[in-house]
């Protein structure tokens, strides 16, 4: 991303004092609305039990599985998403706008719809179920299934981030490389991709975080079994059925990971984008 420096002299004080009191009050409620659940998780957690919950087999197994699943999902998203971003950014074809809308759809689709859609497509009796059966590939009830479910819901994040990066590249750079006789593949590898590394990283991290948090699609498509498909959100849900206080620690774990992702990777990016 080209960082366009905005003037640092925001007349903040001036405009701030003109914000009507009513807006300030509602804004305060808005801030509280967002923060309250997070504060409550910390405040309500039974801290003396922290160690026993966080080191329990359920939590540890789910954490390990979540890291594997989210990382695999992010890799799948990159492998499939970067080429899609290329096509959307560089190629003109009829129905392109529809294609882009469809690719972004998983982002706004209810996860449970993603889950049942994946079952209808890749389940034992799904559209491709017969083919997968012959190949002896089974996705529901397997870790691979959890990866597919989470990769599906997080896919658009990679595509959108990388596409916006590709569009911001100065076409003269690639033109120059071509003029010097570089083949298309070489241009992509040596010029284009290095220029969009920040967007690829941002997209991958967002996809990773989205995959880490997925609940509905995973539960629906992959099921819930400790060690193979029970990721942290599923473990949280199961624990909350009988021990909601203890489940707060798993929630806290997810909050901390999310906050870390925001702080470390998206620092500049989101905060500067006004």
């Amino acid at each position: 991303m080209r960082s366009v420096k905005r003037p640092r002299t925001h007349p903040a004080d001036e405009t701030g004092s003109r914000t009507p009191a009513g807006i300030l009050v509602v804004a305060l409620v808005g801030f509280a609305f967002v923060l309250l659940p997070l504060v409550a998780i910390v405040a309500q957690a039974p801290w003396p039990r922290a160690e026993s919950v966080l080191t329990s087999a359920t939590t540890v197994t789910a954490l390990r599985l979540s890291l594997v699943v989210a990382t695999s999902a992010a890799i799948v998203d990159l492998v499939l998403g970067v080429p899609v971003a290329f096509v959307l950014a560089r190629n003109e074809f009829p129905g392109k706008r529809i294609a882009r809308a469809l690719v972004v759809l998983p982002l706004v689709l209810p996860p449970v719809v993603a889950g049942i859609g994946l079952l209808a497509a890749l389940g034992r009796k799904g559209l491709l179920g017969g083919v997968l059966g012959v190949l002896r590939i089974q996705l529901p009830f397997t870790t691979a299934g959890a990866v597919v479910a989470t990769a599906f819901v997080s896919f658009p994040l990679v595509v959108l981030a990388v596409e916006s990066g590709l569009r911001s590249i100065d076409p003269r750079l690639e033109g120059a490389a071509r003029a010097m006789g570089a083949r298309p593949w070489v241009v992509v590898r040596r010029v284009t991709l290095p220029l969009v590394v920040p967007q690829i990283v941002a997209g991958a991290v967002l996809a990773w975080a989205r995959a880490l948090g997925e609940f509905g699609a995973t539960l629906m498509f992959a099921g819930n079994l400790r060690g193979s498909t029970q990721t942290l959100p599923l473990a949280l849900f199961e624990v909350s059925q009988t021990d909601p206080k203890g489940a707060l620690f798993i929630a806290l774990l997810l909050v901390l990971i999310s906050v870390a992702v925001l702080v470390v990777t998206l620092r500049g990016r989101l905060l500067e984008q006004r």
Partner: protein, 272 residues
């Protein structure tokens, strides 16, 4: 201009993504049974009934009948796993009536926050279901211990899951069957769904889950009486109910003749 639009879409999408990082989790199904076509009755009273998900169909019918006798009452159901519902009640979810698929979880609610008028109102038993084409060749409960059977049960604290594990242990295949479990589902209805979809080779549910619609799409394998587990369903008014009288009316209706007939029609056994 076009590039600008794209970038804006990107920014919006990223914002959405960040919002979804802190995604919520909610899974209980809620259904409101209104009385006919008068949504804004002046003096309508609201009754919240938390009931085991295995009661979904039967209580839906009972609510309709109850509504006719009490036109001013509106019943809101929250169907879910009995353990989850008990936890919700203990954490202050408004509840007037609790109907559990197990005595264990009613005991928990009776201890905290307390109940009144607790009565057993029905019993239920377990049955094995498989997809119509029976891919794993399940002829008896023993077959659930065979290698490579994809078995789906309700989670172990959910009554349907607790009972299923008891029955498997009674049949002497507890360990082998547990090793075959590919998913611990939220409740019996979720087990039915996994078998209906054909993803699971077998599941253990209540006989009452075999509604005509379900029965036509699955194959049922009976579990012999000697190893089967009988579930007892208690109902009670939850302490702190704002409508204790109406709540008790509903509980009485369920335990009364009309309610019992409906439960019988949906396959439940009488309480005693």
């Amino acid at each position: 201009m076009k590039g600008g639009t794209t970038r804006r879409v990107g920014t919006v999408a990223l914002s959405i993504a960040v919002a979804s990082l802190i995604a919520g989790v909610s899974c209980s199904s809620t259904a409101t049974s209104g009385s006919g076509g008068s949504p804004s009755t002046a003096a309508s009273t609201h009754l919240t009934v938390l009931a085991a998900s295995s009661l979904t169909q039967a209580f839906g019918q009972i609510a309709k009948d109850f509504d006719e006798a009490h036109p001013s009452a509106t019943i809101t159901f929250s169907f879910g796993p009995s353990d989850g519902l008990a936890t919700q009640i203990q954490n202050g979810v408004p509840a007037d009536v609790y109907a559990s698929a197990s005595e264990t979880w009613m005991d928990a609610v009776q201890k905290d926050p307390g109940v009144s008028g607790r009565t057993d109102f029905a019993r239920n038993r377990l049955v094995i279901i498989t997809p119509k084409d029976d891919p794993a060749g399940i002829g008896s409960i023993q077959d659930l211990g065979k290698p490579d059977v994809k078995l789906v049960l309700a989670a172990k604290d959910v009554p349907a899951g607790t009972y299923a594990r008891e029955a498997l242990a009674n049949a002497g295949i507890g360990t082998q069957a547990e090793a075959n479990v590919v998913s611990n589902e939220e409740d019996d209805q979720a087990v039915v769904q996994k078998v209906l979809l054909g993803e699971a080779d077998a599941g253990i549910v209540y006989v009452t889950d075999l509604t005509p619609d379900v029965e036509s799409q699955v194959r049922a394998v009976e579990i012999p009486k000697s190893v089967n587990v009988i579930a007892t369903y208690p109902i009670a008014v939850v302490s702190g109910s704002e409508q204790p009288a109406l709540a008790q009316d509903f509980a009485d209706y369920v335990t009364g003749e009309a309610g019992q007939q409906t439960l019988h029609r949906f396959g439940f056994l009488p309480a005693s």
